[in-house]
Amino acid sequence: MNHQLLHIFRNSPLGRETLLQSIYFSKQAKVSPVIYIPKSTKFLMYFENDVVQIDLDDSYLMSPDTALEHATELLEQAGVEPRFLDPKHYTASTLPDIHTNFDYMSCPRSISDLSSKIGLGYIGPRVRRIVKSAQFPVLITSPVYKEWESIAVFFGGSVNAFNALKLGFRICRISGMPLDVFTLIENNSQESYEKLITDEDLEKEMSRYVNNWHFLKNKTLEENLYDVPHNALVVLGAYGHHLFKTFVFGNKMEKIQSTISNNLLIVGPNYTAAI
């Protein structure tokens, strides 16, 4: 129906890469992108249980007169109807409220820091808070526009991982791209993971959507990550079985995001997946 993806536009070459990536994702997942061109560096996002203040880095406000033009151009080139978000409510005169009932949100690895700081291993604190509170998955784009051609889901058996898996099924169904599942076997056996799937009645979907279920056997996670195709959309949960859900994401999640440069679609704890 009315599935939307929120994208905050940065009128710079780096921002262009991010927008192109968002547009590609929107076309594959059949959602319509809604662009917010910020007029001030701060805005508030009121989630169900948290209010996150986003302080954008100044490059987001660069050349505001050409921002609309550039964004429209990129959207029209891709054949997508340009839709822009105009905040209707303001907490203070310089603090617009951006609503949060989107289906996806796309952002680069950090939105409050300089572009120079964005590298592997770094996910800015604001982005982390959004992932934690949002009811939608967050697409963290790779620094350069790359069209992904398959989907890779990391499944570890936790509740979050199940949501990631269902989201993977969904995107596979809508976009038609091949889906692979990756599970790191540490102390458990392959059968225990398969049992988890049967316990949740997901075997049908597994056989229908999944191309290959890779059980990674190398000792450390980092060594295994080479098996993930370079042009795959990686879908994973933010937290695993970890006890403390504070500023740090799950252990594996942190390792993954600091090793691979693919586009990451991260599923937070408040997201409920529907296949």
Partner: protein
């Protein structure tokens, strides 16, 4: 009993997003735990009563019109049978002999039927033109009829029925239904057949049962296709 929010939404006849919003705002006694919801049915019922909100399981929609397959002409006509060369010089005698020959009904109901048919004729003629008449009682019979009956009666010679186009009537279709809804339904289907002039010409030939029913089946197929 464990309920899902969709069931709760159905019971309250509200949209699921309204229920989700009320849970977030704390207006409905359902708690959110991480991914799921804790629903306590008895607490909900009490809450609904306090706020005068209707809370009931939606009944499985069992409207009669959908449960029973809508009656079609063929089965009704089969039940009513076809009479050829019915004797009668005028409307009353024709009707009387038709009623006599009708299957299924008892003697008393036949008397009753004849009276009702006459009553209806006196209101307005059931001759709908082109020589066709559809006598029927205005209200369903006092007998409980289980299925509708259409009795086809080809008259020996055309008689004056006071029809709308003043043409003499050569065939009567007596319609008996157990409810007005079914009566209207059959009437509407029948009128579709009669609109076709070639069908009326076909009737004038006083056809045998098999080809007559075949023709009716054809019309029914057309109607069914149009309905879907």
């Amino acid at each position: 009993m464990k309920m899902t929010i969709h069931e709760v939404a159905q019971c309250l006849n509200l949209h699921v997003s309204t229920i989700e919003r009320w849970i977030r705002q704390g207006r409905i006694p359902i708690q959110k735990t991480g991914n799921g919801y804790l629903v306590n049915e008895s607490a909900l019922k009490k809450w609904a009563k306090m706020y005068r909100l209707p809370f009931s399981m939606p009944e499985k929609v069992k409207s009669r019109e959908y449960e029973e397959k809508p009656e079609n002409l063929l089965s009704a006509m089969n039940r009513g049978g076809v009479l050829h060369d019915l004797k009668g010089d005028d409307m009353e005698t024709a009707l009387k002999s038709a009623v006599e020959h009708m299957p299924v009904l008892s003697k008393t109901s036949k008397k009753e039927l004849y009276r009702l048919l006459l009553e209806r004729e006196h209101l307005t003629s059931t001759g709908i033109g082109k020589g066709v008449a559809i006598p029927h009682p205005r209200d369903p019979l006092s007998d409980t009829l289980k299925s509708p009956i259409i009795s086809t009666c080809f008259l020996e010679k055309p008689i004056d029925f006071g029809a709308v186009d003043d043409r003499p009537v050569f065939v009567m279709f007596i319609l008996l239904s157990q409810s007005i809804k079914i009566h209207l339904h059959l009437l509407s289907r029948f009128s579709f057949c009669v609109r076709d002039n070639s069908f009326v010409e076909f009737l004038k030939t006083s056809p045998d049962d098999a080809s007559f029913f075949a023709k009716i089946a054809d019309f029914e197929k057309q109607l069914d296709r149009a309905d879907t």
